[in-house]
Symmetry: none
Subunit: 230 residues, 3 copies
């Protein structure tokens, strides 16, 4: 197992708005790699650069994720933030529910627990109807109607491992992600059930046009390892 | 994803007996469609018109159902009421058991939880023996003997989403259904194990002669969505 | 669905020893039938007549069983008693473990719960080594060593549904079986893993030489139903 560990320089957060100063150069492509967040920190994260502007009326976000964190621990799974808003944050809540937030109150779902075994997790949302659902191991949750008509704003910052918005830019260890993430992909439309199941089983699907794990642009910060997936 | 949302005019309940004034015209056929009850309300429901009189000495009722509601929340799953009696009500109880009631005390079953993922749920009952069972994912529960000799009375009202009988006709949000229902079918006889398993797996079975989802007559009330099943 | 319900005359228990006066004649054969114990009683049971003397240095006991009783409820699953001893009693204990007792202290096993859905359950024991195991759905539990050298005594009474030995012959409703039993078979030797799995899947296996469900001699007492298995 080859390991590529990046040591850390703290990210500076502007007092007004949000300015990340990345400690490491951007790298490209994580095919057959896993991001390992080995410890609870308030400084380890991975910044992601999207392939296109994040002005979104619909999306599908998929990833494979595993954690040893206890069930009652809050965990940030994905964070996309513009200057004033959490545009799209995905959480495992303290009560075990999985949730997402777009600029305000969230939508909460009762899903099977995220455990030490890798879960395949997708989230779909469409502005026209507001229909939102999580997909676990290719199985769809009950639909919820969440923010019909809303648009996700572009030109923000996307990070894995930390929630950047609490208390004017501070990162909190007790919300950080500890565990593994791999195969993160994002599309600017809602994938069909058969496509999501194909992705779950590792079959060929249309490449993510926002994030494609094989060609993803990323920058490691703090203590995050890139490990062969075997 | 096409969505057909019907806005609402409140249902009037007569002080004596039960008179529904439906806000919407009756529609026909829900093949490949799902009913989505997105919020907790005391006014959203779907009225169903049976193909034949509901004078029943036996029945099989099947549906696919999913909910995000917490485990300790009471949920009405099916309600058939005549003027003075709950002829056939199916509930998820506060203690998690699934139950049904015909004109009085109910029968309670310990089943796997009804979750955010779709469950296939059938209920069979036969008057001659009183044998009653639920079937989850094609597997039969233990038989219970419930009201041998009883007959379900005809000429009532069948609704999904609300329990129409509490407190002189009032609907209660805390009992309402939130989630998805699809593929509801009902027969005036007890289907065999192999037929119920065939239905569970989506294979061809004799069409429901009380309700057949593909040709069901229904009227939407309040905030209920008809969504493509994909 | 044909049902054969037997109404009840109470069983008389001698003050010294144990004398059953059965209310019904012995019947033969339960192929494709299920015994349904619909209510908690202190008087419903089925007496079984073995094909050969129950002097046993080894055995395999198999049955399919389902119950609606709550997890913390003690349940008698099989009782074989001679005048002074519980020769072979099988229990679901209050703590959820499954156990068996031969003339004294028992052996306790952590098995998957016995639920409303039918479980296939076997028990094997051999005197020479004392090796004892339960088999659930064809999968063996960890072996325990229990009473090596012991012999089960003959000329007792075998019943399903009640435990006959508490408090000088009294039957207790709180220990009674409620639910379904079918396909009970017993051999005077230890079946191989492949044979037990074959039995589990309903394939052909050597007929039980103590009990063979298809030709079993039984007498119904109290409220026990014989129902077609479909």
């Amino acid at each position: 197992m080859r390991v590529n560990m990046e040591k850390f320089v703290v990210a500076l957060l502007g007092v007004i708005g949000l300015t990340w100063t990345f400690s490491t150069a951007t790298q490209v492509g994580l095919a057959d790699k896993v991001l390992v967040f080995p410890y609870e920190t308030d400084f380890s994260f991975v910044a992601l650069t999207p392939q296109k502007e994040m002005s979104l009326k619909a999306f599908t976000l998929c990833m494979r994720v595993a954690t040893e964190l206890p069930e009652e621990r809050q965990i940030i799974l994905f964070a996309y933030r513009t200057a004033d808003y959490d545009e799209l944050n995905v959480w495992r809540e303290r009560d075990g529910r999985v949730s997402f937030y777009m600029s305000g109150d969230g939508a909460f779902f009762h899903l099977p627990p995220i455990t030490t075994f890798r879960s395949s997790l997708c989230l779909t949302w469409e502005s026209r109807t507001g229909l939102a659902a999580f997909w676990v191991e290719g199985k769809r949750s009950t639909y919820q109607v969440y923010k019909p008509g809303h648009t996700i704003r572009p030109k923000g910052t996307i990070i894995l491992g930390q929630d950047p918005d609490k208390h004017l830019g501070g990162l909190e260890a007790v919300q950080s992600f500890v565990g593994e993430v791999t195969d993160l992909n994002m599309w600017d439309f809602v994938l069909s059930r058969s496509m999501i199941q194909a992705w779950h089983y590792g079959h060929k699907v249309p490449k993510g046009n926002i994030f494609d794990w094989a060609t993803i642009e990323y920058a490691l910060n703090g203590n995050v390892m890139v490990v062969d997936d075997d």
